[in-house]
């Protein structure tokens, strides 16, 4: 099946009162390579305006790289990531946030980590830090050094810090990898709540169950190409490509 056969038919605006169904974030002809090898190969993407988009695929498919390109952390070799048609810059990146697989916490207390993000984005107001810590269940640990928290707590703190930025788009790079089920549940609850609150979530996960639970849209990446983009229910009911079928069946396939 040709690429993008399953791409959702995003409706365009029909009048001034209609909100576009596609998100401001998009990419066109995105390329990135290393060592003479194309790691991201001509990726075109538009995302649903709302909900949670899960990017899935085998190891080495280029998922983390794609997320970093979308967030503007890496310059593409070709093509462009755009926000309402404008190239991504620091100003646009400030409207987004990202949580990494291994949380990068400052060598400060839990509270100071939140304060750092609030001040960086000029969103420091009385009580906001307490709200965020309460939201992720870390109020009791506010004074503790962040790097002494457990893995699950660290990831919840990283999420709270990302939410402190009040992002329009939140990127999650395998945010629940190597966490126990209760920590995964806690993170998923926070992510779902952020999505309900209007934050667009674009996440990478290797957990098909998690993608089923959370995602409204699936992007399946294989060997640096988007081979499928579809409504989550439709994708899981009937994956259109052999690679996606193999992935869902748990077959061992080289993502490169």
């Amino acid at each position: 099946m040709p690429m993008h056969d399953r791409v959702l038919p995003f409706p365009t605006t029909t009048g001034p009162a209609t909100v576009p169904a596609v998100h401001a974030l998009a990419c066109r002809g995105l390329n990135y390579g290393a060592g003479g090898k194309a790691l991201i190969d001509g990726v075109d993407l538009e995302f649903c305006r709302d909900g949670i988009t899960a990017i899935i695929g085998f190891n080495g498919a280029g998922k983390s790289l794609l997320l970093r390109l979308l967030h503007g952390l890496i310059e593409p070799a070709g093509g462009a990531v755009t926000w309402s048609g404008r190239p991504i810059d620091a100003g646009i990146r400030a409207r987004q946030a990202m949580v990494f697989q291994k949380p990068v916490l400052l060598r400060r207390s839990v509270a100071a980590n939140i304060d750092f993000a609030l001040k960086a984005r000029g969103r420091d107001r009385p009580g906001r830090r307490e709200e965020l810590l309460d939201h992720v269940g870390l109020s009791a640990l506010a004074g503790r050094p962040a790097r002494l928290l457990s893995g699950g707590e660290q990831q919840r703190l990283a999420l709270a810090r990302a939410l402190a930025c009040a992002p329009e788009v939140l990127f999650l790079d395998e945010a629940t990898a190597s966490l126990d089920p209760s920590s995964v549940l806690a993170i998923e609850t926070i992510v779902r709540s952020a999505s309900t609150g209007g934050t667009k979530i674009i996440m990478i996960t290797h957990d098909v169950g998690q993608a089923r639970r959370l995602a409204s849209e699936i992007v399946f990446l294989h060997a640096g190409k988007v081979v499928e983009q579809a409504d989550a229910a439709a994708f899981f009911a009937n994956p259109a490509t052999p690679a996606a079928r193999a992935y869902l069946d748990g077959q061992i396939v080289n993502g490169n």
């Binding site: 400030a94 990068v104 962040a146 790097r147």
Partner: protein, 235 residues
């Protein structure tokens, strides 16, 4: 051998008895070295941090120069400061030659590269860990520098202590620009050099012991800081 033992005894008596001359020399040594450490931190830390977070053409060359400057020969620095502060020199009008201020200037020049080079290394390691998160926060360069300076504070105190140790143990530069004048610019190292050349070993040894204790104290402080940082997960 007996002379040696007697010299040791005299040295301990001088220290235990808080000999005023000895205290004066130790006091001036500490004041000069602490002042030089402060100046070198004010100069070296921002430079180290800026190089750590910046990527520019020729950066590798700048780092090589910074590292090479750590090995500045003290007598050459002393000579350079002497030439500038002497009456005929461009800064001669300030009248600083043979004053503690001249010694602070010479030592600051000597240890600022140490602070800059060591802090660059420490902060670059930290920055590499934070880089993507900082980019995600869309932080300005200044905000990045401030953040890594704060988060690297325990390691940077170690850097400052290393600079202080070098400063306190240095003799070549301060003897040239200070002149080792009694009650004015005589510090531990210059006094040791003088007393040894005069054959007055007891005072030289007393000062030497104090210098060794100081070096030991600095190292103990560094170790304690490392342990504290590790305990509170700031390492």
């Amino acid at each position: 051998m007996q002379d040696f033992a007697e010299a040791f005894l005299f040295a301990f008596r001088q220290i235990a008895g808080l000999d005023p001359d000895l205290l004066e020399i130790i006091g001036l040594s500490l004041r000069v070295s602490l002042a030089a450490t402060l100046v070198s931190c004010l100069v070296g830390l921002p430079i180290g941090a800026l190089v750590a977070v910046s990527r520019f053409p020729g950066r590798a060359g700048v780092i090589v120069i910074m590292n090479a400057l750590m090995g500045l020969p003290p007598v050459v620095v002393g000579l350079f400061v002497y030439l500038n502060l002497s009456r005929a020199g461009p800064l001669g009008w300030m009248g600083l030659l043979y004053t503690p201020a001249a010694m602070v200037i010479a030592q600051s020049i000597l240890i600022s590269p140490i602070v800059a080079a060591l802090s660059r290394q420490v902060l670059e390691d930290l920055f590499n860990e934070y880089r993507e998160q900082f980019a995600s926060f869309a932080l300005s360069r200044l905000a990045q520098v401030r953040a890594i300076l704060w988060d690297g504070r325990y390691s940077l105190i170690t850097v400052a202590l290393a600079a202080f140790g070098r400063s306190a143990a240095e003799v070549g530069a301060v003897i040239i620009v200070g002149g080792n004048i009694e009650h004015l610019t005589r510090v531990m190292t210059t006094a040791i050099a003088l007393e040894t050349s005069k054959g007055d070993l007891p005072l030289a040894m007393a000062l030497g012991i104090v210098l060794l204790i100081l070096a030991l104290g600095v190292n103990a402080l560094v170790s304690a800081l490392r342990l504290t940082a590790a305990r509170y997960a700031y390492a």
